[in-house]
């Protein structure tokens, strides 16, 4: 009986909380806005705690990989050592201290930039593979448009072709904007639907 009551209590809490926050956007009642602000502050605090929980989970997973030796365990060891060093440096030097900034500027940033560079190469390979995997008109359109954009975006003074540049501008301003707006409208409707399902209690991701 208690087990049954608890989900109902969670449902009431979620629906009431969501409803108050949502109504706060339209109804300018001081009491409602105050309650809404309190709820939003709680949510921000809980989000911060969740980041800590996430880091704890990350550390636990990598610790388990080290104590149960398996392939790739050395990467987990490197990750844990890097975490401990970074944590100590930031704790002692403060997040805006010179050593903390050094770690961000000369280690984290280059590593993430390298991944971005790999991504560029990888996409070229993926597009080549796409021709083999899905040889249809959409693939050809996708590749044709990508090539057109690359050609038009490259500035070569002697090989500047006005027609290509105009074609690119037209594609960007008409079909791309229309397509992107269509997709965004669909995504927006999906977002509204997901939110309202939770507000109406049809979806209960918080219920154990």
């Amino acid at each position: 009986m208690t087990q049954r009551r608890f989900p109902i209590f969670l449902l009431i809490l979620a629906v009431a909380g969501g409803g108050i926050v949502l109504m706060g956007y339209w109804v300018d009642l001081p009491a409602l806005v105050a309650v809404r602000n309190v709820l939003l502050r709680w949510a921000a605090t809980l989000t911060g705690v969740a980041v800590l929980l996430g880091i704890l989970n990350l550390l636990t997973v990598h610790w388990l990989k080290i104590i149960q030796p398996r392939e790739g365990g050395v990467y987990s060891l490197v990750m844990l050592i890097a975490f401990v060093i970074t944590f100590l440096v930031v704790a002692i030097d403060t997040p805006t201290g010179s050593w903390s900034v050094w770690i961000f500027r000369y280690i984290q940033l280059p590593v993430e930039t390298s991944l971005l560079a790999i991504l560029a190469v990888l996409l070229v390979v993926a597009v080549a593979r796409l021709v083999v995997r899905r040889p249809d008109s959409f693939t050809l359109l996708f590749i044709g448009t990508a090539i057109l954009f690359l050609v038009a975006a490259t500035y070569l003074p002697r090989f500047d072709i006005p027609v290509v540049r105009s074609l690119r501008d037209w594609i960007v301003q008409v079909p791309v904007v229309a397509g992107a707006r269509g997709l965004l409208l669909g995504i927006g409707l999906g977002v509204v639907a997901t939110g309202l399902r939770i507000l109406l209690g049809a979806d209960r991701p918080y219920e154990r």
Binding site: N57, L58, L119, L183, G190, V191, L196, D203
Partner: protein, 258 residues
Amino acid sequence: MNLANWLSPPVLGLALLLIYTLLFLFFRYRPIKKSQPSGLLSIRELAPLDQLIKSLGRALESGKGIHLSSGSGGVSGIRGASGLTGLMMLARIARKSAKNDKPPLATSGDGILNALAQDTLYQSYTAAGSRRNFDPSQEQVAGITPFSYAAGAMLAAADQPLEANLLAGHFGPEAALIAEAADRSAQLTIAGSDNLPAQATLLAAADEVLIGEELFAGGAYLQANPAHQASLAAQDALRWLIILLILAGFTLKLLGML
């Protein structure tokens, strides 16, 4: 008060919410004819979700797992909806593969998503009567920045034998790294995101891609509950309404009345 004030974004937003709620309630509780199949409404085929359902069957036969990556968007704000959709899909995958020796692997880039994924899996296994198969170490936070998350998810997926990877949540273009790693391990990748650059890169890198709002139809396809089918029908009706409004606005503009 002029028309522009009446049609301000807050008023339009409220109108949209009310119309959607009414449509949702209509499709959810409308009387169903006896001749109609148990699924409330007929829905068009989506190849990526068909592939997902097939791969769930193959995973059960081969004893391999399914990896669900719910992204790094958290659960709040606009980005949160795709992560919540990913969680709901995880619940259905877990329910369908509860008897599998290899439980699904769930990675996320956010603490709340991870906690909810743990709850979701526990609940699904309990409902399927296979609580002994529940393994909390199968829900991992792979990294807390987008690229560290992608790198972590690549490694987590490479660690165990998988039949398919489902990327359902908020990603940036870095999602292509996960899809590429899965491709190297000869695993099927089905991907959907609410982010347009991610959709563009995944179109090239993943085997099957959910475009636009197709990700949000996942619940209806996996038969999460009748509310998802009603929600999908309400979305479709609302889309038609928006199309009609755009056409009306275009006509009025053309006639010089707007």
